[in-house]
């Protein structure tokens, strides 16, 4: 790691400065520092404060961008796609039903290779109406060609938003990226955030250099009819980009950690003892809550760890195979479901660990915003200790 003098003087990061920001503010401030040029956005709870902050930043001149107050999420994604196709860096934010309503365009942005960044404030899906967190909205875009990364706290959300542009716009990746935070638990709860500076972000994040764009001096046509052979090739190409993204996300995380001293892990974050009886697997704030639970249990003589999935797409299959052998059992706590089958995280683990004999246990917890505290996670871990595999 470089010296703090380097960090402070060259990157102008002031580590004594701490803001008390909600997750929404943390994302909005990072998005503003990333200098998006086109933002098209539509309000929806709990992501609205992100777009309010961006519209204010545009109006008061802090951010030189076009802000379009569109008439729907479908139009929001369409608007940023237009901006991205014209070669602009683009950003928007949404949640839940808003994401579902923009889904046609979400797939288009992914399959169409438009490196848009979205702040996705995770919220459960209706009916029944619920404004609180779970991950079902994020799972709904699993196969849309988007990189999906999950933050566990407001600081990570702040840091990830800047990193997301760098990953998405990387020419070896060139895919849109969703930065996920848990609705209300992070989006509306204020916590300590060390803010990045404009100087740092300008150095860390090069300006957007599109591989292709709409340019009247060199006209191209997008969205043409694609015959079967070409179509299959395009999807293969998409998959290759996802595989390359694994290294790019890891490298960008590492570079960021070296510069700032804030290391959030690679595609996953491993917490606790090197080898343990049980690894608790979760995403977002549930993983941070699991850290509390395992600390408490380990104090009482148990031996438990946490594997936090940061990148859900691409899924860190190889990393899971590497770390899983350190554990006797895996306990997945999933905040979403895939009805008629195993939960989305369980499916990923069973795929990643195919051919091994590590037992996997799953609990669906915290859907529809149901609060999960560390003592409940401790109780589940105790149950798994007792279960015969």
């Amino acid at each position: 790691m470089k010296s703090s003098r380097y960090q402070e003087e060259i990157l102008m990061l002031d580590f004594s400065k701490v803001e008390i920001w909600t997750g929404n503010q943390a994302i909005a401030e990072a998005a503003i520092l990333s200098r998006p040029e086109v933002i098209a956005a539509y309000p929806i709870t709990p992501s609205t404060p992100i777009i309010e902050a961006l519209s204010s930043a545009v109006e008061n001149g802090r951010l030189d961008a076009e802000f379009i107050a569109v008439e729907s999420e479908h139009a929001a994604m369409s608007g940023v796609m237009g901006g991205s196709a014209a070669g602009a860096r683009t950003f928007t934010a949404t949640a839940s039903q808003g994401l579902l309503y923009m889904m046609e365009m979400i797939y288009w942005a992914g399959y169409g290779r438009l490196p848009i960044v979205i702040g996705l404030v995770n919220r459960s899906l209706a009916p029944g109406w619920s404004i609180w967190v779970d991950h079902q909205d994020a799972y709904s875009m699993r196969d849309a060609g988007w990189l999906q990364i999950f933050a566990k706290n407001n600081q990570e959300a702040h840091d990830l938003t800047v990193q997301a542009f760098k990953v998405a716009e990387n020419h070896g990746v060139y895919l849109p990226m969703a930065v996920n935070i848990d609705g209300f638990v992070l989006s509306h709860v204020a916590g300590q955030v060390q803010p990045l500076t404009q100087k740092f972000v300008d150095d860390f994040l090069p300006s957007f250099n599109p591989i292709f764009k709409l340019d009247s001096s060199d006209p191209v046509s997008f969205g043409a009819l694609t015959l079967p052979d070409d179509y299959q090739m395009l999807r293969k190409d998409l998959e290759d980009s996802f595989q390359r993204a694994k290294k790019v996300i890891t490298d960008v995380s590492k570079e960021f950690a070296e510069l700032t001293g804030r290391d959030w892990g690679d595609l996953i974050e491993v917490y606790g003892p090197e080898s343990a009886d049980i690894a608790v697997v979760a995403m977002g704030t549930l993983a941070e809550e699991a850290e509390e639970a395992v600390d408490e249990l380990n104090k009482r003589g148990k031996n438990v760890g946490v594997v936090r999935i940061r990148s859900f797409r691409p899924f860190p299959t190889e990393r899971i195979r590497e770390v899983a052998k350190n554990y006797d059992k895996i306990l997945i706590i999933d905040r979403g479901q895939s009805f008629g089958s195993a939960t989305p995280l369980t499916l990923e683990f069973k795929n990643a660990l195919y051919g091994t004999d590590i037992p996997i246990v799953t609990r669906v917890m915290g859907t529809g915003g149901k609060d999960v505290d560390y003592s409940e996670i401790m109780a589940v871990i105790e149950e798994v200790y007792k279960e015969e595999m």
Partner: protein
């Protein structure tokens, strides 16, 4: 100071799910007046209560379907008219009313508003226009006046708003009225007229949103918008529809009234006649 008057029962209670009260609407909100006018209109309609159905979308007004003790459906954002169309087709005997806001019906759901009007299907749409997205905290919608401040147009809105009566006339609506929530009796009578009207009815109810719209603009106190409606409302029976844009400027008039009504073949008749004409199957 006199103690506040409290009553155990409100005259409208019989049409409310009182177990869902107190409601979530802010002090000074106009939605209660709309619900009151609608429920009074139901009383006066002579149509049995179990034939009335209310459909709402997303936003503060979306709660209407939750508070009214009728068959009701709280749909997704912008879709209540599309949903109500299916409902009406499945059971034409029902008196189907959509109560939702400007953000829901004219912005994210604007497409369904114009297409239901085009079909002249026998629905009653009560669009509660408070000029912003209220529930998410006061962002600009398609009816936010030019220059108005909202949380997404902090220096003022540079987009032009819809003139909804004009839009509805162009799209084919056959009954068009507008009142403020202060015009309680007139609003109620227009809703009754909508029940009677055979075709697409559009009743716009201008409503204060003290928290989301008023305080950022010229109406600091909850009562100020009501005073404005009181002082500047002008009744016009046959107005020039192109002149009905609302700018919520304290110096501008608010044109209200029963603007337009015509008899035009409604959806079901149109369908029957068409199939009769081509000699084919009649649904």
């Amino acid at each position: 100071m006199k103690p506040p008057i409290t009553v155990e029962r409100h005259p409208r209670d019989k049409l409310l799910r009182v177990d869902r009260l107190p409601h979530i609407w802010c002090p000074g909100c106009g939605l209660g007046k709309v619900i009151s006018a609608y429920s009074k209109a139901i009383d006066n309609s002579g149509i049995e209560r179990n034939k009335h159905v209310v459909v709402s979308g997303i936003g503060c007004s979306g709660r209407a379907s939750g508070y009214l003790d009728l068959d009701s459906y709280h749909t997704t954002h912008g879709r209540p008219i599309a949903f109500a169309t299916g409902l009406k087709l499945a059971n034409p005997e029902l008196q189907v009313t959509v109560i939702s806001g400007d953000g829901d019906l004219s912005t994210i759901g604007g497409n369904h508003l114009i297409h239901a009007a085009r079909r002249n299907i026998n629905l009653n749409v009560i669009l509660v226009n408070n000029f912003i997205y209220g529930m998410t905290g006061g962002q600009a919608s398609a009816t936010t006046p030019y220059g108005a401040k909202t949380s997404t147009t902090t220096k003022g809105n540079y987009d032009h708003p819809f003139n909804l009566p004009f839009l509805m006339r162009a799209a084919g609506a056959t009954h068009i009225a507008r009142w403020t929530v202060l015009h309680h009796v007139q609003l109620q009578e227009s809703i009754e007229k909508a029940f009677q009207h055979d075709g697409f009815s559009f009743v716009e109810a201008l409503s204060p949103c003290p928290k989301g719209f008023g305080k950022k603009n010229s109406f600091r106190n909850a009562i100020d918008t009501m005073h404005y409606f009181e002082q500047r409302s002008e009744l016009e029976e046959n107005p020039e529809l192109t002149q009905l844009e609302i700018d919520m400027d304290p110096k501008s008039d608010v044109i209200v009234g029963e603007f337009f009504a015509e008899e035009k073949m409604p959806y079901f008749d149109s369908k029957d006649r068409f199939f009769h004409y081509i000699g084919g199957h009649q649904a």
